[in-house]
């Protein structure tokens, strides 16, 4: 047992660092630091995607025949850790990490040939049409309906909490094509061009004041049957595959460590009156750091199991819960670090392109919105309550 990387892996680490040093512009870095969200604005995120794609790293998790870099789990770890450390923008995860793997796993060769290169290159920007009003945690109860009409489906209904729908040119959605005996049985997985007539989006401002999510309405929207992925009525299976794929692919500890470091640097600076001298802050930083250490070890245990071809087992399902809790603790710490400057609300966006001087120092701007928006970590993607239900049932066998 040991924690050190091999000489080859160290060399790869250096390659990643060199790549980042050569590709990450100061503007990208500043924009990422000043974005109070896990989603970068597309102009920033897609610029980074193009840089990655040029290097052949556009989709680290994909098989090599579809343009993946063929990395070992350790290489993926190193890549993600270095990206986190450098503060690179977030790419369009709905494309690279969500719909991409589904198309690879279940799409037709035509779909693969058409969509995958456009994800890699950053030409397409995807959003995810899953939740509906009334169907959040209870996703299988979704009501948006796709009725067959010749070679098309006609879609009616509405999706909600659709991240970046206002930026996306494509959506992958779960729609009801049939009233199966089980709710899950009548759901299909479909790819929708956002420019299709009948689609409208309504912005929903988050509690932090950001326009990130939307409600999307479908009013007799005509989508070719050829845009369905896999079999009709099997969409639930593909959707679940996606969630599992997603779960194994993230390495959260490196990003959390970086977020904590940002807060820690603020706490050590005059801009917060040296908040670090408050023992409550100092101790809570250590608590958060130790929590991240524990998470990192758990992630490394998963990585090590993957590396040696084993199934990491149930432990991966505990990770989402801890990640969301630690994230919230770190953003909360941020609020306490900046103290009364947190009273100032800056409504304009993005923070990295304000056309006026903000009331408080620029680096303090994202702190409160990050905390506020971060309340969603324990809600979106399956609330913490649902996660605990799942752990009790699937991990503990209760």
């Amino acid at each position: 047992m040991d924690l050190t990387f091999s000489a080859e892996e160290r060399a790869f680490e250096q390659e990643v660092r060199d790549f980042i040093a050569g590709s990450l512009t100061p503007e990208m870095k500043r924009a990422t630091a000043l974005t109070p969200s896990v989603f970068s604005d597309p102009d920033i995120g897609m610029a980074w995607q193009r840089a990655l794609h040029k290097k052949g790293w556009g989709a680290p998790g994909w098989p090599v025949e579809h343009g993946g870099p063929d990395w070992t789990p350790a290489q993926r770890w190193i890549f993600e850790a270095e990206c986190a450390r450098a503060g690179v923008p977030n790419v369009n995860v709905m494309g690279v990490k969500m719909v991409g793997p589904v198309i690879i796993g279940f799409g037709s060769p035509e779909q693969q040939n058409f969509y995958l290169p456009r994800i890699l290159s950053g030409e397409d920007y995807w959003c995810q049409g899953y939740s509906e009003p009334g169907s959040g945690s209870d996703l299988a109860s979704l009501k948006t309906r796709a009725v067959r009409d010749g070679d098309d489906y006609i879609i009616n209904g509405t999706k909600i909490w659709t991240t970046h729908a206002h930026h996306a040119n494509r959506m992958f959605a779960l729609v009801r094509t049939n009233d199966g005996e089980r709710q899950q049985d009548g759901i299909s997985f479909i790819l929708i061009d956002m420019k299709t007539p009948g689609i409208t989006t309504r912005p929903i401002l988050t509690i932090g004041g950001d326009h990130e999510v939307n409600q999307v309405f479908f009013d007799d929207v005509r989508v070719p049957v050829a845009n369905r992925v896999g079999e009709e009525g099997k969409g639930w299976t593909y959707g679940k595959y996606l969630l599992e794929f997603e779960r194994g692919s993230g390495i959260a500890s490196a990003k959390l460590r970086e977020a904590l470091k940002t807060i820690s640097d603020l706490a050590g600076s005059d801009v917060t009156g040296r908040a670090i001298e408050d023992p409550d802050i100092a101790i809570r930083m250590s608590e958060a750091e130790v929590d991240i250490d524990a998470l990192e070890m758990t992630e490394l245990r998963v990585l090590s199991a993957l590396q040696t071809g084993q199934n990491p087992g149930a432990v991966s399902s505990l990770i989402k819960l801890r990640v969301s809790e630690i994230r919230q603790a770190v953003t909360r710490l941020g609020v306490d670090v900046i103290g009364q400057d947190g009273l100032a609300v800056e409504p304009a966006r993005p923070f990295y392109r304000l056309n006026h001087e903000p009331a408080i120092p620029e680096e303090l701007l994202p702190v409160v919105p990050e905390y506020l928006n971060g309340r969603a970590y324990t809600i979106f993607g399956g609330s913490s309550e649902i996660q605990r239900d799942i752990i009790a049932k699937m991990v503990l066998g209760l």
């Binding site: 945690s137 909600i160 908040a275 947190g342 009273l343 100032a344 800056e346 309340r375 609330s383």
Partner: protein, 381 residues
């Protein structure tokens, strides 16, 4: 030993509850949020007519001679309605600072005007380097031939842009130039050298940061006779924290009521959210914490005139405990509202943010547990 309300107090509560319920609806709040002033002068006038602005001011200065309990009743109602009128800044803090420190002439010049709604005040005290330490002031007041010259920077000035006068704390230079005790200065809005960076305040209302660059003031701008103002500031801030505690209780109660309602109505997997034992227990904890917060706000109000040590411990204890409860209640209200809770679509978000602001104002929970420990003689806290 009697913790029941007097008839007058009951009437005050009822009229405040009614007025707030009728006036401060979500529609009104949306308007106020986009108002550069942050509040409505017409409503402020009504506050005056209802006698609320005169409430804690002594009868000798045109007031009603009320106390912390009455303030608490109003503030709790204000919390329920997320009222953003500058009551705390003008009446609870501003008038009290003048009453505590001012000369009789200064009191006569300001207090009756406040009581009739003709004067608004703000208090500029916090500085970035001070964090939550009331004793830390870098802003200086130098003696000039015919008055004072102020230099420095302040943050978190509540309702500063709407104030007719701002009470600014500054360290009065000694004869040898070294900085000495704190003084409070009445600075009229628009005085040259004063720069405000106004902002929308988290949870409603406005705030600003303030720069003072060679601000020239007349000799009588100094409140009182030059005695160190820190003890008076501590007194007034302790009472302000009791009042804020009552406001927080009103907010928390509203969040509890709203969340109870929502979990009964909202269905998931074919049954109401409130059928989940985990959610039922969570709500029991929320209710318990609202009740504890209520007890602490009341306690701080009842101790508002106690000797400084006991008053400070009650105020810090209340601020610390209510702050802790407020975080829990606010975060759970959002959590139990699910995705809707993390938007600006519902009122929940506004209440949440006002509680977040509450916890930060005048020092967060951790700060006040520490002050409580220090005032209790636990030396190394």
């Amino acid at each position: 030993m009697d913790l029941t309300l007097s008839d007058e107090q009951r009437l005050l509560r009822e009229s405040a509850d009614r007025f707030v319920a009728e006036t401060f609806d979500p529609e009104h709040r949306k308007k106020a949020a986009n108002d550069p002033l942050g509040y409505s002068p017409a409503i402020w006038k009504q506050f005056a007519e209802l006698g609320w602005l005169a409430l804690p001011i002594s009868e000798a200065h045109g007031g009603l001679g009320g106390g912390a309990i009455e303030i608490g009743l109003l503030m709790e109602a204000f919390g329920r309605g997320l009222v953003s009128e500058p009551f705390l800044s003008t009446v609870v803090i501003g008038a009290a600072l003048v009453a505590e420190c001012g000369t009789e002439a200064q009191k006569q010049a300001t207090l009756p005007k406040i009581a009739e709604g003709a004067l608004t005040l703000a208090f500029a005290h916090s500085e970035r380097a001070a964090r939550f330490d009331l004793g830390y002031v870098d802003t200086t007041a130098g003696k000039t031939a015919d008055g004072w010259r102020l230099n420095g920077s302040k943050i978190a000035v509540l309702d500063g842009a709407a104030a007719d006068q701002i009470i600014v704390s500054a360290r009065i230079a000694n004869a040898n130039g070294a900085s000495g005790k704190q003084g409070l200065f009445l600075v009229p809005a628009g005085t040259p050298g004063l720069t405000l960076r106004d902002y929308a305040r988290l949870g409603g209302g406005r705030g600003c940061n303030l720069d003072l660059k060679d601000v020239q003031l007349p000799a009588d701008a100094l409140l009182g006779d030059g005695t160190d103002a820190l003890p008076a500031i501590e007194t007034v801030v302790d009472r302000a924290m009791a009042a804020l505690g009552a406001e927080a209780v009103g907010i928390m109660q509203t969040l509890l009521d709203t969340t109870l309602e929502y979990t009964k109505i909202r269905k998931q997997f074919g049954r109401p959210l409130s059928a989940n034992q985990v959610i039922r227990h969570r709500l029991a904890d929320v209710a318990m914490q609202v009740d504890e917060a209520r007890s602490m706000a009341l306690r701080a109000a009842l101790m508002a005139n106690a000797e400084p040590g006991a008053r400070g411990r009650a105020a810090s204890g209340a601020k610390a405990k209510i702050g802790k409860c407020a975080r829990f209640v606010a975060e759970q209200a959002v959590q139990l509202h699910g995705a809707m809770g993390v938007t600006e679509e519902l009122d929940i978000g506004a209440y949440f943010k006002r509680l977040l602001a509450f916890d930060t104002l005048f020092g967060n929970s951790a700060h006040h547990y520490r002050r409580h420990a220090a005032l209790s003689g636990r030396a190394h806290a």
